[in-house]
């Protein structure tokens, strides 16, 4: 008789590495225990290739070989708690200024030229069966996707990982970091604070932010990658909502350069930019602010027309975040953590 592995138990942890090539210990103080929220799981990315040859037989018996291990090893999704959401974003961005003299401490994270912080990621699966403990290290949070709204009421961050050392069997000692016990950000905590050009739009029903570093890895003299190849990433932000009396002028502005275009006005040649900002408030001392002061609003996503059955016109409002005298994106988090997320 067989016994299935207990997939409902185990854990997922991320820790900062002191340097590339140095795996973070299970006791590392920077370790965060993340609340994994979907079945997405990191993989070894051990891939095979085959080369056929002629041996006189009618059936192929190509020579297999291992192409690579590591590199793009997939993604995981976690609930963004007060202690983990901003911290993982800071490790993706690579800078975090902590200000204040007592709780709450203000963490300011803004995009520039800094590199991501190397990570050691551990996952444990099972209890009586296994447990299977695997480590991905010399890793980075290559692409983060923040997703929250009416269709995703709890804040999710999807982290796509790029790593040099994949699926190593981990220490039998689990990381000491435990779940903070704090609830993740909820969509309702943004009430009245989803703004376009500083004006709140209650009809906004969700937001998505993609922060992509576009790093790859280079394969050298071994099956594991030799080093990271820094890429030129991008940040894309979208508010979802509906066409309403208050949203319509914003849409017209993007298309025509005027919120009240007169008859005969055609779409203007200038692109349109707007500031998108959201603030999630748990209390006066626990907030998360996501600020993108200049977002290209893509007019080709704006479709306004009649519908045979009537009903809502959903709208996706946004595009690529751009620099314009200020960082493309600034994240401000009020937390109880007094140390930088980069440590």
């Amino acid at each position: 008789m067989s016994t299935g592995i207990e997939t409902g138990t185990g854990g997922l942890w991320c820790a900062n590495q002191a340097a590339l090539g140095t795996q973070a210990a299970t006791s590392a103080t920077s370790t965060l225990r993340l609340r994994k929220a979907t079945d997405d799981t990191l993989k070894s990315n051990k891939t095979h290739g085959r080369e056929p040859y002629v041996d006189g037989a009618a059936y192929d018996s190509s020579t297999p070989y291992v192409e690579t291990v590591g590199g793009d090893v997939g993604q995981f999704v976690f609930q963004a708690q007060i202690e983990t959401g901003a911290a993982i974003i800071a490790r993706h961005v690579g800078v975090d200024t902590v200000t204040g003299a007592s709780d709450p401490w203000t963490h300011t994270i803004s995009t520039g030229t800094t590199n991501p912080v190397y990570q050691t990621i551990r996952e444990k699966t099972g209890v009586a069966v296994g447990p299977y403990r695997a480590v991905w290290w010399d890793a980075i949070h290559n692409k983060l996707t923040w997703n929250i709204g009416q269709s995703q009421m709890v804040g999710h961050i999807t982290s796509a990982i790029q790593c040099l050392k994949a699926a190593e069997i981990g220490s039998v000692t689990d990381p000491v970091a435990t779940d903070s016990g704090t609830d993740p950000w909820r969509w309702g905590e943004s009430a009245g604070a989803m703004t376009i050009a500083t004006v709140a739009f209650p009809e906004i029903d969700g937001e998505t932010i993609e922060m992509d570093r576009a790093w790859t890895s280079h394969d050298g003299d071994a099956i594991e990658p030799a080093f990271f190849v820094p890429g030129r990433g991008a940040i894309t932000r979208t508010f979802s909502g509906a066409v309403t009396d208050t949203m319509l002028p914003q849409l017209l502005l993007a298309l025509y350069g005027s919120s009240t275009p007169s008859a005969g006005t055609r779409p203007v040649s200038q692109p349109s930019f707007l500031a998108l900002k959201s603030v999630y408030t748990r209390s006066a001392t626990r907030t998360l602010t996501l600020d993108t002061p200049k977002v290209e609003v893509k007019p080709d996503d704006i479709l306004i027309g009649t519908r045979p059955q009537g009903g809502l016109i959903p709208i996706a409002f946004g595009g690529q975040a751009l620099a314009g005298g200020s960082p493309m994106m600034t994240i401000t988090a009020l937390t109880g953590q007094s140390t930088s997320y980069i440590t």
Partner: protein, 152 residues
């Protein structure tokens, strides 16, 4: 990484790190990932990052190439890499070496911040100032967060 060039000074921009009463908060510490060009075993040039924590210190030294001037919003560094990272992230502006008067102004602002926080803490303890943002939340959300707040 330290290159022991002349010190440069960077001040946290006015719109970052402000408390509920709009007082500027002093810098506690700065974490920054510094990229350093590195040659691989195969002879290819790449960048390797080093996580650096800039803490409070009274002065720079040969070993300490970046510091936060205590009770201020000013970072001093002798490293080109740190200077470049601080400028690029858009949070800091480069300033002239701060005079005693400038530092005194920062320390005064820090005291105002500490006083404001202490005042609010007392008001909250006395129950005179319910967390304003929590009362603005929908009732269901506010209720469901009570336990979370205690935990956080």
């Amino acid at each position: 990484m330290p290159d022991n060039t002349e010190s440069r000074f960077f001040e946290l921009a006015a719109d970052h790190g402000r408390d509920h009463a709009d007082n500027p908060e002093p810098i506690q510490e700065v974490g920054v990932s510094i990229a350093v060009p590195t040659m691989t075993k195969g002879g290819e040039l790449t960048e390797v990052s080093h996580g650096l924590i800039i803490g409070r210190a009274d002065k720079l030294s040969k070993q300490l190439f970046a510091r936060v001037i205590p009770d201020t919003r000013i970072v001093e560094t002798s490293s080109h890499e740190v200077a470049a990272a601080l400028l690029s992230c858009g949070q800091y502006v480069e300033i002239d070496p701060p005079t005693k008067a400038v530092i005194a102004d920062h320390e005064k602002a820090t005291r105002a911040h500490v006083d404001a926080m202490a005042k609010r803490d007392k008001q909250v303890e006395a129950g005179n100032e319910p967390a304003p943002d929590a009362t603005d939340l929908p009732a269901v959300i506010a209720d469901s967060n009570l336990t979370s707040e205690e935990q956080s």
